[in-house]
Structure formats: structure tokens, C-alpha cells
């Protein structure tokens, strides 16, 4: 199977002692939206810089659509659109001038460049700024312009490095919405972020990176299941009487019951089948259930547990 992005034992060393990347192997299928999560200094940007030909790996290989980036950078980079860190802009040029140049770099025809400039600036909500110098742009506008440059040539693969860094909540929502749109268009998106909520919102799967090593890879759904730690929070229409609580405790599947502020927390074995069975029993007991939700550990707690694991999976 040819992956959109694949890396093999990617290593990047600076000097003799510091390894920014230590044998990173990734496999990202076409059309997938994958989050690349890790603390600052984990090696996310280094991986992205290798994938985009900005940095050469010390050892290992990075492939884009089956093409080795280090061996054939021009071929590999043709199908990539990238937003890396906070790129600078030529602040004395207008978006039209900047994007026209990059359109030519991608070998696009003049009429196509003009059309795509209109389309992309519309998409990133900068249509009225096409002929204004970028020196007057805000951080959010510059970021959106950089995204416009990244998608100008309709790349197969979009690589976004911390795309919401420094943006206000509205800007974050806009970027998030854009990523969803790219996904619906079948684009492969590789999204680096240290914001778990960001990744959970838009990604299909997540790769956790720490100290240059991949420490965990899973689908967002799979992480959700793993986070289920065997507590169901149940709210009832009426306050529970001591007899009701006793009836709950008598259910075989329930290990213990805590009641606080009108919500009963039922501890069980954490299996989804058990959770379903408990709900059925509650209904059969006519306890007037208002809401029933399996509690999980927070994504942040999962992140911390993964990151504190010393063993890499590579």
C-alpha cells in the first residue's frame, strides 16, 4: 500500500549528544487527518521540516506519495502544501503578488493562478485584502495568508505545524472549520499541535511524540475507548432515597455507588457491554433516568499518562 506520508526510522541529531528525532516511523494513509501531538521540543517541527525538505535527516527516510523527499525533493514537494511554524511574509508585497509567484513556482497557468488566488483568499476570508501590502496584516491574517499559499495549488497533502498558535478563539474556530473542509475534499492532513482539544476536534487518529520518539499511535475513537475508566454518571428525575441507593448497590455489575449533588457515580468493570446492561437495569427498575454517561479520564490525563511512559513503540 502506498501511503500519503511514510517515514522509516527517521533520526535527526544535532551534535553528538542531542537527538531531536530518534527512529520515528509513521504511516499515514491517503485522505486521513492525523494529529501529531507532543510537548514543545518533542520533535514535531523537525519531522515536518524533514517532510518538507527544509532539514535533512541524519538517518532514515521520509516519503511523500512514495517519493523520497531527500532524494527527489522537487517531485515530493509538488504534492505538498505546508504551513510551518509562523512563516514570515514579504511585508512589502501584496497577497496577489506573493501568491502569483508561488503559483508560477508550481507551474500553474496565469488564468489558473488568478482564479485560485480568488478562491483561496475567499476561503481564508481575505478577499478584500488581495491588493493590500501584508505589512499591515494581523497575526491571524498572516496565518490565513500562509494557509492560502499552502493550498493554492490544490495539494494532495497538507502539512500544518501548530496552525492555531497565537490565534484568538474566533481564528481557531475558522482554522478548524477549514481543516474539516479540506478533509471533506479528500485531502490528507498532517496536523502538528500541542493542543489536544484541537487534534480531538478534527483528526481521525493521533500520533504521540515525546523526546524524539513515537510513544503511542491510535485512532481518536480508540483513545476515547481507552479513556473509559469504568464510571457511569447518572442523573435521576427525583433525588434518590436510601432504598434506591441500596437497590443500585444490589446490582451485580455495579461495584460501588457515590451520590453527590444529585448525580450518582456508578463504578463498574469499564466494559461497554456492562455499561449497556446497567442502563437497561436502571430503566427496568423505573428509576426515571434523566441522563447516563460513561465518564472517561480527560484527554489531558491520557496525554500525561502516555508521555510519562518511558518506552517508545518504535
Amino acid at each position: 500500500m502506498e501511503y500519503a506520508i511514510r517515514t522509516e526510522n527517521l533520526t535527526k541529531s544535532y551534535g553528538k549528544t542531542f537527538k531531536a528525532l530518534d527512529g520515528v516511523s509513521l504511516q499515514i494513509k491517503r485522505g486521513e487527518v492525523v494529529g501529531y501531538v507532543g510537548p514543545n521540543g518533542a520533535g514535531k517541527t523537525t519531522t515536518i521540516k524533514i517532510l518538507t525538505g527544509l532539514v535533512r535527516p541524519t538517518s532514515g527516510h521520509a516519503y511523500v506519495n512514495g517519493t523520497d523527499v531527500a532524494a527527489k525533493p522537487k517531485d515530493a514537494l509538488r504534492s505538498i502544501g505546508a504551513l510551518i511554524e509562523v512563516p514570515g511574509v514579504y511585508d512589502y508585497l501584496t497577497p496577489h503578488e506573493t501568491l502569483t509567484y508561488f503559483g508560477r513556482v508550481y507551474g500553474m497557468r496565469r488564468d489558473m493562478i488568478d482564479r485560485r488566488i480568488k478562491e483561496t483568499l475567499e476561503l481564508v476570508r481575505l478577499p478584500d485584502w488581495e491588493h493590500k501590502k501584508t505589512g499591515a496584516f494581523s497575526t491571524g491574517m498572516l496565518r490565513r495568508l500562509a494557509i492560502a499559499k499552502a493550498i493554492l495549488h490544490r495539494p494532495d497533502i497538507l502539512i500544518l505545524d501548530e496552525p492555531v498558535l497565537g490565534l484568538d478563539p474566533k481564528g481557531i474556530m475558522e482554522i478548524r472549520e477549514m481543516i474539516r473542509q479540506f478533509r471533506s475534499e479528500g485531502m490528507t492532513v498532517f496536523l502538528s499541535s500541542h493542543l489536544l482539544s484541537e487534534v480531538a476536534e478534527v483528526c481521525d487518529s493521533v500520533v504521540f511524540l515525546d523526546k524524539g520518539k513515537v510513544v503511542s499511535t491510535d485512532s481518536v475513537e480508540g483513545i476515547g475507548q481507552r479513556m473509559d475508566h469504568g464510571v457511569a454518571a447518572v442523573r435521576f428525575l427525583r433525588p434518590l432515597s436510601p432504598q434506591d441507593i441500596e437497590r443500585l448497590r444490589s446490582i451485580d455489575l455495579i461495584r460501588s455507588v457515590d451520590v453527590k449533588n444529585g448525580t450518582a457515580r456508578l463504578h463498574y468493570d469499564g466494559k461497554p457491554e456492562s455499561s449497556v446492561q446497567i442502563l437497561k437495569i436502571l430503566v427496568s427498575l423505573n428509576l426515571d433516568v434523566v441522563s447516563y454517561a460513561a465518564e472517561g479520564v480527560g484527554l489531558e490525563e491520557y496525554y500525561v499518562s502516555v508521555m510519562s511512559d518511558e518506552k517508545g513503540v518504535n
Partner: protein, 264 residues
């Protein structure tokens, strides 16, 4: 999803594209405009006190030519490489399907083209002035040789600026160092060697003296309390040209090799 990017570019067209983009940037930053104005106005300064001969007038005017070339090289090529990394525009420019060597070749050629333009303007104004003041028959016959020498020296000066820009990290440091090398370090070295009565033939700014000496002007250096005259050396045309071309080739090649390997 079908990408719109197509493989139609080769190294030559990439260099041409980079050159045009750099020229647009020089125009938009007004650097080119500033130097064009200087190259038009400064040759008028010798009009304040005109010598008796056309040769003297041309010699006085072209005495500033080396400075103009150094200023132009520093302004157009001083931040050609390090500026992209310093301002992080490298993150926009490099993850694209272009050969990096083509990008930098375009940058060098654009800086050179701008420098050629300001030199040409200066010579144009000087030629018009000389013709108007002294008559066209009095025009120094080796003016074209001086012009050619100025162009050749500019390839070396822009090459030095390009190399410095690829080595250093900050644009301002690179620009200052280019000035220091071409305006202070090399001229001081020439002066010291001249005083030691050793011809500094290998120093490029010494070769740049050809810009005026090919016209037939000579000079000597008064030194000491009694105004003793130290005879200055005069570069030979052939060797001077070889030295300047060598500087250009070596500096551009070294600058290119460093720039292509440079990482964020």
C-alpha cells in the same frame, strides 16, 4: 484530490522566476529607486568645480564608482540569503518544488542586474555631462573600458556580499561586514602593502582601481611630515580582470554551496 501543480519548470526557468521575483522585491522595497536616484544625482557633484580637461572630470566622477558598487552590492545582496532565514520567509519559500540553487542563483543575478543598472546610469549621466561640458571629441576614449571594468568589479563585489550573506545569520551584520571588507579591510591592506612597496595585486579593491586608471589618470600617495611621495602601483588590465572574475566565481560558488546546505 488532483493537484494543480505541474512539472514544467527546469533549473533555468526556476532561476528566471527567482530573478524576476527578486527584482519585484527590490522595486517594492524602494532600494532600487534609491540607488537609481543616487546614480543620477551624484555624478552631477563634480559640476561644482570642473577641472580643465574631460579626462580630469571623468576621473573625479569615477572616483566614487567603487563606493557606489559596494553600496549597491551590500543593499541588494547583503540580505539575499540570511534575510530569508532571519525573517522566516524561508519557511514559505523553500518547501516548494524548486531547486534551492536556482533560487539563490536568481537572487545573485537580480542583485547583479540592479547593480549593473545603477552603474550604467552613472556612466550615462557622466557621458552626457562630459560631452556637454568639453565636447564629444574630448570624451576619454577608454571610457568603455572603465565601464566594463566597473561591471566586472560589481560581479566580484556582489559575490562577496552574497558569500557573507550565506555565512552570517543577520542581515544587518552581513551588510555591515560587506562594507567593512570592501571599504576598510581591503583598502587598508592595499595601503599597507603599498607602503611596504609590495604590489597588492590579489586584493580585489586594488583591481577596482582600473575603473579610473584605464582612462590614463595616475596618482601618487603623499606620506610623512615632509609630504614624501610614495609611488602607487597600478594594476594591469589583464591581471586585474582575472582577479575580479576569480573573486566573483569563488565567492558565488562558495556562497551557493553554503546557502544550499543552510538549515533553519
Amino acid at each position: 484530490m488532483a493537484t494543480n501543480a505541474v512539472n514544467t519548470t527546469n533549473n533555468f526557468s526556476e532561476t528566471w522566476l527567482s530573478l524576476r521575483f527578486e527584482l519585484l522585491k527590490h522595486l517594492k522595497r524602494r532600494r532600487l529607486a534609491i540607488l537609481v536616484v543616487l546614480a543620477t544625482i551624484l555624478p552631477l557633484l563634480p559640476l561644482i568645480r570642473t577641472p580643465d580637461t574631460a579626462l580630469g572630470f571623468a576621473g573625479n566622477s569615477l572616483g566614487f564608482m567603487t563606493v557606489l558598487i559596494v553600496v549597491s552590492a551590500a543593499m541588494f545582496a547583503g540580505d539575499a540569503v540570511c534575510g530569508e532565514f532571519e525573517k522566516k520567509t524561508s519557511l514559505l519559500l523553500f518547501p516548494t518544488p524548486q531547486n534551492r540553487a536556482s533560487i539563490f542563483a536568481g537572487k545573485y543575478l537580480a542583485a547583479l542586474a540592479c547593480t549593473f543598472l545603477v552603474i550604467s546610469l552613472w556612466y550615462l549621466v557622466l557621458t552626457l555631462e562630459t560631452g556637454a561640458l568639453y565636447g564629444w571629441r574630448e570624451m576619454p576614449e577608454d571610457m568603455w573600458k572603465s565601464f566594463l571594468t566597473a561591471l566586472i568589479f560589481s560581479t566580484a563585489a556582489v559575490g562577496v556580499a552574497f558569500l557573507v550573506s550565506s555565512i552570517l545569520k543577520r542581515s544587518i551584520s552581513a551588510t555591515i561586514l560587506v562594507f567593512l571588507i570592501l571599504m576598510m579591510i581591503m583598502p587598508v591592506a592595499v595601503m599597507i602593502m603599498t607602503l611596504l612597496e609590495s604590489e597588492p595585486w590579489f586584493v580585489v579593491t586594488y583591481s577596482a582601481n582600473l575603473i579610473t586608471t584605464v582612462l590614463g589618470t595616475t596618482s601618487s600617495l603623499p606620506m610623512g611630515p615632509h609630504g614624501d611621495v610614495v609611488q602607487q602601483f597600478t594594476p594591469t588590465f589583464g591581471r586585474g580582470v582575472v582577479v575580479m572574475v576569480t573573486y566573483a566565481v569563488v565567492c558565488v560558488a562558495a556562497g551557493m554551496a553554503i546557502a544550499v546546505r543552510k538549515e533553519d
